[in-house]
């Protein structure tokens, strides 16, 4: 090997050692924004638990409600996400997600029978709120909006599987188990709200 390629190789190796500002905050998989988005939903309880609560509630309210929630929540999430990404700033405190825990978890715990339009409205509200926050966070972190597609895709799959599973459940005690899960989510939301409103000692 001649002197010139060796120098070039050394310079390239040295440059790889030069760290650059990462500004990271969101979870990165190293597989690109789409997979970052997928992993975000499963690793971020503030988004994951409300999606689970929506799927449980939709399942308890029957197949029609489940089908509507399956398409409306991801669509609203994408819409809210793009709006949040365009805005570039969340404008809302993160504690606002406690509302999703409380409303969806509470309605699931109470086994509240809602019309399909009611479940659809809740799915839209969930998607718009969480999508907005996700989109704004992605923009703040200087990442690609493609991550939203990963989040939305993961939410679609999660709602599809869980809502269908709850619709399929037949023995009465299984319905109670779903309600207990809803009460746990509502309880977590109440504590989350408390942490948000807490004034430091």
């Amino acid at each position: 090997m001649t002197r010139r390629p060796l120098s070039l190789l050394g310079a390239v190796a040295a440059l790889t050692l030069l760290p650059t500002p990462a500004h990271a905050h969101l979870v990165t998989t190293g597989l690109g924004p789409l997979y970052d988005g997928i992993s975000h939903l499963f690793l971020s309880f503030e988004d994951l638990l409300p999606v689970l609560a929506l799927a449980l509630l939709a399942g308890l309210n029957g197949p029609k409600a489940g089908r509507l929630a399956l398409f409306i929540a991801p669509a609203a999430w994408l819409l809210g996400g793009l709006a949040g990404f365009a805005s570039g700033s969340p404008l809302l405190p993160g504690t606002v997600t406690a509302a999703s825990f409380l409303v969806l978890g509470g309605l699931t715990a109470a086994d509240w029978r809602l019309p399909s339009s009611g479940v659809s409205a809740l799915a839209a509200a969930l998607g718009l709120l969480h999508g907005w926050l996700n989109g704004a966070s992605i923009a703040e972190a200087g990442r690609e909006a493609l991550g939203l597609v990963g989040i939305v895709g993961a939410a679609f799959v999660l709602v599809a599987l869980l809502a269908a599973f709850v619709v399929w459940l037949r023995p009465p005690w299984t319905r109670i188990a779903v309600r207990v899960a809803g009460s746990w989510i509502a309880a977590i939301g109440l504590l989350l709200l408390g942490w948000g409103l807490r004034t430091p000692p």
Partner: protein
């Protein structure tokens, strides 16, 4: 004229060293403490005997009472307990918290020991009332630097599992020997509650 033969470092090494020295601070912060928050929350309810005995007793009593109390109590209890934690986080004063927890163990032990069968609303109110004390005392003890949401997730899951453990144990109520065993366990819990009360007031 003689040439200087002192060995010199390769230019690439000098360049690499300079580039390393030119390193800029990485602005990223790792999301540390996430798992620790969850595990602390998960561990906290099972680390206090007063909380463990009271939660399991609620499950035992639910099993003795049968439906609908059996399913009503596990649905209502986490939310009431979280309400207690919510009050604690807002700084709302709740005097005599430790005494309330000790009395909860005594009363819950006694209702299991005597297999008391009050109206459903009385049972729900009794369990809910004491649930506020347990949530107030235990739901807000987050160590510094840990994630509050994951602490809450762990705390609620662990408490719910204690409750379900009580219900599972209470299934022995269907056998005569099991009924006696449950009532004996209730008496033991009540005695432990007296010990907690002694500790709280002394």
């Amino acid at each position: 004229m003689t040439r200087d033969r002192t060995p010199r470092p390769p230019a690439e090494a000098v360049l690499a060293l300079l580039l390393l020295l030119a390193a800029v601070p990485v602005s990223a912060h790792q999301q540390t403490g996430q798992a620790a928050g969850f595990l602390t929350g998960l561990k906290h309810p099972v680390s206090g005997l007063d909380h463990v005995l009271a939660m399991i007793s609620v499950g035992l009593w639910g099993a003795q009472l049968g439906a609908p109390a059996l399913w009503l109590l596990p649905v209502v209890f986490p939310m009431v307990m979280a309400f207690g934690g919510f009050l604690g986080l807002l700084g709302v004063p709740l005097p005599g918290t430790e005494i309330g927890i000790a009395i909860s163990a005594i009363l819950l032990g006694l209702v299991v020991a005597f297999e008391a069968r009050p109206p459903l609303w009385v049972a729900a109110a009794l369990v809910g009332f004491f649930g506020v004390f347990h949530g107030y005392a235990h739901g807000t003890e987050l160590p510094a630097g840990e994630n509050a949401l994951l602490y809450s997730v762990g705390f609620v899951i662990a408490t719910g599992c204690l409750h379900l453990t009580g219900i599972a144990i209470g299934l022995i109520h269907r056998w005569p020997v099991g009924r006696i065993a449950l009532r004996t366990a209730g008496a033991v819990v009540a005695l432990a509650g007296v010990s907690f009360l002694w500790g709280a007031v002394s």
